[in-house]
């Protein structure tokens, strides 16, 4: 800043001060999480550990406590993201390339779907899953998660596809390539970064989802980390806050890493909000 008048400088000081206060308030619960995870005698309140130790992490890093639930989370979110991306690419292609009568109603329906309060639906979804005998089925849960993330994924994929120039496809059509060949050989390779964004976006959403697997899955060996953390809290929560915090961090790190990656790819932290802005 070249010209900094006194009023500008005091404005900046005030802004910084207010922001730091708000930032501190936002940071407190997060700082507790980190401090408690390295404190063998953690409580619910922020306190500096007497000795920093990784014992909590050692304690939770057992197959039944952490690894199986994390693997289940990976299967659920990975499966959901993969299905969602494939189905979204297929749906986005005709929507992006042809002007059909179905486009407008379909896209409005999709937008409407993004707005539905999914948690409101869990009671009827449970009844439906009971009727189809899909309760406690990983496949059923993956398909439901995919369906709920599909509207947003179609919308995002279509806007990424709209920015892929059509000229290369025209060359493929001239050579007599079919629609599917053009899509898989020409369009998809050109929009790999966009598809990665959609995949990660869906993956993050499914990884963090608690309510859906909480209602639809029952067997302890199928529960993803979100639900097993909740069960762990119910069983040992009143004593083992340190382990709870350590497990929570282990479970959170993958999505935070993915978020940082995706916001770098899209340039700037406003990327996800921009994608959701509609």
């Amino acid at each position: 800043m070249g010209m900094t008048s006194p009023s500008r400088r005091s404005l900046r000081a005030v802004s910084n001060g207010v922001l730091l206060l708000i930032g501190a308030a936002f940071a407190l619960p997060l700082v507790w999480l980190v401090l408690a995870s390295v404190d063998e005698r953690a409580t619910l309140s922020i306190k500096l550990p007497d000795a920093v130790s990784l014992q909590n992490f050692v304690d939770v890093m057992t197959p039944e406590k952490a690894f199986v639930p994390l693997l289940n989370s990976l299967v659920l979110s990975g499966g959901c993201a993969l299905i969602t991306v494939v189905v979204a690419v297929l749906a986005a292609y005709p929507l992006s390339r042809y002007r059909m009568r179905i486009n407008k109603p379909f896209l409005y329906g999709v937008l409407f779907g993004t707005c539905l309060p999914i948690t409101a639906m869990m009671v009827p979804v449970y009844s439906l899953f009971v009727a189809f005998n899909l309760i406690d089925s990983m496949g059923g849960t993956i398909l439901f998660l995919a369906a709920t993330s599909l509207p947003m994924a179609i919308y995002m994929t279509k806007s990424f596809m709209d920015s892929v120039p059509i000229s290369l496809e025209e060359a493929a059509w001239m050579d007599g390539a079919s629609m599917m060949t053009t899509l898989t050989r020409v369009v998809v390779p050109l929009m790999r970064p966009g598809l990665a964004v959609v995949f990660i976006f869906v993956f993050i959403g499914a990884w963090g989802n608690f309510f859906v697997p909480f209602v639809l899955l029952l067997s302890p060996d199928k529960l993803p980390a979100a639900v097993s953390i909740f069960a762990f809290f119910g069983q040992y929560g009143t004593v083992a806050y340190g382990q709870l915090a350590a497990f929570s961090l282990l479970y959170s790190v993958p999505v935070i890493t993915l978020y940082v990656f995706i916001s770098r790819v899209l340039g700037g932290s406003s990327a996800l909000a921009g994608a959701v802005k509609g």
Binding site: F26, I102, F106, P117, V125, A131, G274
Partner: protein
């Protein structure tokens, strides 16, 4: 587009001929059908797992289905009995009120005002402050909901961070999760969700040309005047979009409240999603819970339609 007439192919290649008018000719209809084939997997998934529950929700809310007892075997049609019971139950009107309080205080006022405030402050702060504060705010949003809920639970607990801080300045806290459960979950939801509004408003403010605010400054407009009469009107589209989206997101908040208070004490913090869960799964009244779910879906649908009609997001 390449204009090559070759109708005999089973799969119509993209872009053959001008834009088809479905219904004009049989070939046109067939081509249009073939072209919509890739939509089928999406339509099937959405029909089974989104439309299906919506329809069964409407139907189920008129039956006496339950998880246990005689009605668990076969359910029968009971008309509006669930709804009549719902409105007679004092918990339901209370839950509607709590949901409204939660929506207005945490989403419409809390997240939006704080998000806009943060976005504005960040424009006149140092890069270091901006980066650090932004990281904390966004981290609370990116964390998986169950982890964020635990962090908020610990913060407001009787022996939690808030009371420790209050004690260190000589104030005595209370058991926030029991004494003021709504205040606790509202503050927690503001903490959890403000990042979204902040990001939307930061992006919107970047699009406001600086010349306009500068010329207002030259004309003697004070800071708050520039904010009220120039900045806010220029980003009004972002504001209405954001209000709508944060309202819809907050309407479906379940985990945060479920973990922090479980809807309690009693039903003092049971917003509609939590009440639907309690009725269906804790008290076994599936039809009752389904009726609440149906009402929530209708409210969500009304919001969505208003949003889509008022803002007309581009679909082409």
């Amino acid at each position: 587009m390449a204009i090559v007439a070759e109708e005999a192919r089973p799969v119509a290649g993209p872009g053959r001929g001008p834009v088809p008018r479905p219904g004009r000719s049989r070939a046109g209809v067939r081509r249009s059908l073939v072209r919509s084939v890739p939509l089928v997997p999406a339509i099937v998934l959405l029909a089974i797992f989104l439309l299906g529950p919506v329809i069964s929700s409407f139907y189920g809310s008129f039956t006496d289905a339950s998880l246990t007892g005689s009605a668990a075997q076969g359910s029968s049609f009971v008309g509006f009995a669930n709804y009549a019971e719902l409105f007679a139950d004092p918990d339901f009107p209370k839950s509607i009120l709590l949901t409204l309080v939660f929506l207005v205080a945490s989403a419409i006022v809390g997240q939006n005002v704080l998000g806009l405030g943060l976005a504005i402050l960040m424009r006149s702060s140092s890069r270091f402050t901006r980066g650090m504060v932004g990281t904390f705010v966004v981290t609370a949003w990116v964390l998986p909901e169950i982890v964020a809920s635990f962090a908020a639970y610990a913060f407001f607990n009787d022996t939690g961070t808030l009371n420790t801080l209050l004690a260190s300045v000589g104030l005595e806290g209370t058991n926030w999760l029991y004494a003021t459960p709504m205040l606790a979950v509202i503050l927690a939801n503001i903490w959890r969700g403000t990042a979204f509004s902040m990001l939307v408003y930061s992006a919107a403010l970047q699009d406001v040309p600086p010349e306009i605010t500068e010329s207002a400054e030259v004309d003697g407009a004070r800071g708050w005047q520039r904010l009220a009469f120039i900045t806010v009107p220029m980003i009004r589209r972002s504001i209405s979009t954001n209000l709508m989206l944060t309202t819809l997101q907050t309407l479906s908040v379940f985990t945060l409240i479920f973990v922090m208070t479980g809807g309690g004490p009693g039903t003092d913090s049971s917003t509609l999603p939590v009440l639907a869960y309690q009725e269906a799964f804790q008290f076994g009244k599936l039809g009752f819970g389904t009726a609440i779910a149906t009402i929530l879906l209708l409210v969500g649908a009304v919001f969505s339609v208003v949003y889509l009609r008022a803002l007309k997001p581009e679909v082409d």
